[in-house]
Amino acid sequence: MEQPLLEINDLRVTFHTDDGTVHAVNGVSYSIDKGEVLGVVGESGCGKSVHALSIMRLIPIPPGKIEGGEVLFYGKDLLKLSLDDLRHVRGGQIAMVFQDPMTSLNPAYTVGYQIIEALTLHKRLDQNQARERSAELLSLVGIPEAKRRLDDYPHQFSGGMRQRAMIAMALSCEPSLLIADEPTTALDVTIQAQIVDLVKRLQSNYGMAVMWITHDLGVVAELAHKINVMYAGYIVERGHARDIFKRTRHPYTLGLLGSLPRLDEAPGTRLLSIPGLPPDLVDLPKGCPFVARCNYITDICLESMPPLESAGDNDHLVACWHWSAIAEGVAK
């Protein structure tokens, strides 16, 4: 079998705060193949962003700490790399796009300057070539009059344009993995659809792998090949996108799907929501973290955390003691 692009084994991340140790990521393992689009879904504070930032060691240390595990990128462990070697991976091979386009460009420099800077960091280009290339990149992400817009400052760009510029920056060095950390959350729906289309198009053009972090199942349904559902720092379900939607095996995923509005619903139907709150990450329960909000709870759920095990075929993994019961329910 071919070596996966990125392989994460038992990644654990904690934050030391005055209230105690926050267990943000608790033993996450999965892999991304070349050219694969992975959706990472979960509600706020479930460790989606933290685990993505930890891949390139971008979490603030201290208070953050990567307690253990390994992140193998092309077989080498990014967690053991020296900072100088890591800098070549950052931006050069793995690029990131962040949530808030309003603050992710430096207000003191022109957009062009920032793209050129990202370009020349990893590639040997002279000023003219770099300028040409940045203009190309800007028009590639759909900004009209790219050549002139290069000399604009970020405050002269709209939110959607800034996110496009960020994507242009991320693509500048043709990374093999793009981590998009809720890139459309701060944008309105039409722009959101445009950005999703843009990434989809670029992904198939460049053949790069994409990790798309979001809490919006609708977005990943369009985009992702595989989906990780995260809850309280654990992966609770992982599988091909179709399996996650059609053959759901975890009560939390079920809850997330149930809370999506549907077009075929009778008018006036109230949206379902998952009752309760996610557990306190400082003081995680002994058993399954979802226990307080689950309809399928039995004694074993209180006793121990279910392992992430295969739920049938097709690499479908789930961490629930009762997945077969849920499977029957979904089948009906």
Binding site: P60, A95, M96, F98, L121
Partner: protein
């Protein structure tokens, strides 16, 4: 009516108007602000007059002396008593006050700029490093650099005491070794003891060439330096050490500390500049550190990190321009303060060495004659100090409004 073709309709290209930078906007706001205009006018006219006077109006304070004109009131029309024009009168040695005020500005304003430059450079750098490494891990090269530098700087103290400058090289070596130990001998329990031992030895051994007693003392100093270097370097340590030293400086009343430094270095304008500069360091260190700590949390710094930029670039290219506005405002205000401090030192006779003109020392020379009615000898240098301080403060206020439009409601 003929149909209009698209190229007949002149479309105004509003999308790409003008590439306005933040600084350009701030400048426009500044020059349209009345307060700032007044401040700028005062500051520029005073600075211009002193600079022009310094280069184009010769003045030799040593030969400027005329007892026949002692303490004459301002005279605009020459008469028998006062054969020359003195628009601000003369002082106790019969020197023209107008001339001395204009030339004194060269000294007073220079003190302001140089001492604020010292505070800004040292304080700003310390604050930048302290704020930056508080939330960013130190790379191995930086670790060698820091510890080596600490070795050099601290090693200078015992080396100066024992007059054996070879010691500096030894302490640098100890610093570099401790950086190596930080990286590679982390779990070895003898690591700190080795550094402390080496520190003591490099303090004591070269000093034996001078005298055994010196060796004992510098050996002790070396021991202390060894303890410092044996600590594993982290952002918290850098930040704590710098900020606590700043707190120590702040604990002294500022004028007292300035006087103490001048007393240590000896009087003179240059010494005054250093003294006032050192006293001002903590203000800038604190300001810059807090500004860095707030900017470093912005997403564009994270983005710069994610693109793979180095620490130096992030510090100086990405953080610095974004913390510049509070620093500029503070510098302008500090200029006023420094000129005032220089005047105070001069008044106490610790500033410029007489007969060199300086506003503070002119006040100090003449206030005794106030009771005999010679108001002009005191008023004019006093007004000069007041005006320049007012000018810088107004300019500082204007700059704050211009650079931080969020403050305006």
């Amino acid at each position: 009516m003929a149909e209009a073709t698209p190229d007949q309709v002149k479309v105004v290209d509003f999308a790409v108007r003008e590439h306005r930078s933040l600084w350009g906007d701030a400048w426009r706001r500044l020059i349209s602000n009345r307060t700032a205009q007044l401040g700028m006018f005062i500051v520029l006219s005073m600075m211009l007059s002193t600079i022009l006077a310094h280069y184009f109006w010769e003045y030799d304070p040593k030969s400027d002396l005329d007892y026949s004109l002692k303490l004459k009131a301002p005279t605009l029309i020459p008469n028998e008593d006062v054969p020359s024009v003195h628009i601000m009168g003369t002082d106790k040695l019969g020197r023209d006050i107008f001339r001395r005020v204009v030339h004194g500005g060269w000294n007073s304003i220079r003190v302001g700029f140089v001492s604020v430059g010292i505070s800004l450079l040292i304080g700003g750098l310390l604050g930048l490093l302290a704020g930056f490494y508080e939330s960013v891990p130190i790379s191995s090269l930086e670790r060698y650099l820091f510890k080596g530098l600490v070795g050099v700087l601290l090693g200078l103290i015992p080396a100066w005491i024992a007059d054996q400058y070879s010691m500096v090289i030894l302490f640098t070596g100890v610093g570099l070794l401790s950086a190596y130990a930080d990286l590679h001998w982390q779990e070895k329990s003898w690591r700190p003891w080795l550094i402390i031992l080496l520190g003591t030895l490099s303090g004591a051994l070269p000093a034996l060439l001078t005298s055994p007693y010196t060796a004992l003392f510098t050996g002790f100093l070396g021991f202390l330096i060894g303890i410092m270097l044996s600590r594993r370097l982290g952002g918290k340590l850098i930040s704590d050490t710098t900020m606590r030293s700043m707190d120590i400086i702040l604990a002294f009343p500022s004028y007292l500390l300035a006087i103490a430094i001048v007393a240590f270095l000896g009087p003179g304008l240059e010494k005054g500049m250093i003294a006032i500069g050192v006293v001002g360091i903590p203000v800038f260190a604190r300001l810059v550190r807090s500004a860095v700590m707030s900017v470093i949390q912005k997403e564009y710094i994270l983005a710069a990190n994610a693109v793979g930029e180095g620490h130096g670039r992030i510090m100086f290219r990405h953080i610095m321009p974004n913390i510049l506005s509070p620093v500029i405002v503070q510098s302008t205000m500090a200029l006023a303060g420094a000129i005032l401090s220089a005047a105070a030192l001069g008044f106490l006779g610790l500033g410029a060495i007489p007969p060199e003109p300086e506003w503070g020392s002119m006040l100090g020379d003449s206030y005794k004659y106030l009771s005999s009615g010679a108001w002009w000898a005191v008023i004019f240098p006093g007004v000069a100090i007041m005006l320049i301080v007012l000018g810088f403060n107004l300019l500082g206020d204007g700059l704050r409004d211009a650079l931080d439009p969020k403050l305006k409601v």
